[in-house]
Symmetry: C2
């Protein structure tokens, strides 16, 4: 194990700030453009490097969209509703039972499909 020494950088701080002040679950490119408003000469490579670091250190979540990666500055456990029509990602809270019906009523959405992805360590790897 190796502790990552992370120095302060204006670029990283700005990127994190941008992410924590939006609800749109943006792509790297959107973040890049937004960050440029504050640091006009920041490079795309730097944005990617810092996003990667922020994900590693748990300050930011990486979401799996169709083409590009998306990022989420909200790191407390929550779920998502993704509109098939406009692609918007909404933050949502789980309800314990009658999930879908309850959900549609509460939000005015129309849920057509859902997918639960569990992550952790499988039996095989646990025994290694």
């Amino acid at each position: 194990m190796e502790t990552i020494k992370q120095r302060y950088s204006k670029q990283r701080e700005t990127i994190l700030n941008v992410l924590q002040n939006t609800v749109i679950h943006p792509t790297a490119d959107w973040i890049y453009k937004e960050t440029r408003k504050v640091i006009p000469n920041i490079s795309l490579g730097t944005v990617y490097r810092n996003l990667h670091q922020l994900v590693e250190s748990g300050q930011v979540l990486k979401l799996k969209d169709d083409a590009q990666d998306r990022f989420d500055g909200k790191t407390d456990r929550h779920d998502h509703f993704r509109c098939k029509s406009c692609g918007t990602w909404y933050d949502v809270d789980l309800v314990e039972s009658g999930i879908i019906q309850h959900f549609n009523q509460a939000h005015g959405f129309s849920v057509e499909s859902f997918h639960l992805e569990l992550e952790g360590t499988c039996e095989k790897c646990l025994s290694n």
Copy 2:
């Protein structure tokens, strides 16, 4: 709306066969290599084109992994457990309550996180 006219092709049939006879949720490249064992001169472009068609026509599911796409020949509704250590995707069945505990006991897995992604149409788009 346009009905897609899909002709028979040995390539597509073989790809679908490969997908329906594995549980590993493979990448396009793995499918390519596997298909080559049957049709040695099949091209990677053809594999991608057919995977896309099979997804469109609902015969195959596309999963969102980290880097590459993964595909699933099992199309009935089900969920996944993904091992953080070895990356394996397991097919799993949801249980109605006490999901995580029940789950760990039933499979011998150690669930560390989960994420429910709902898809459908949002309120805004419903009114268009």
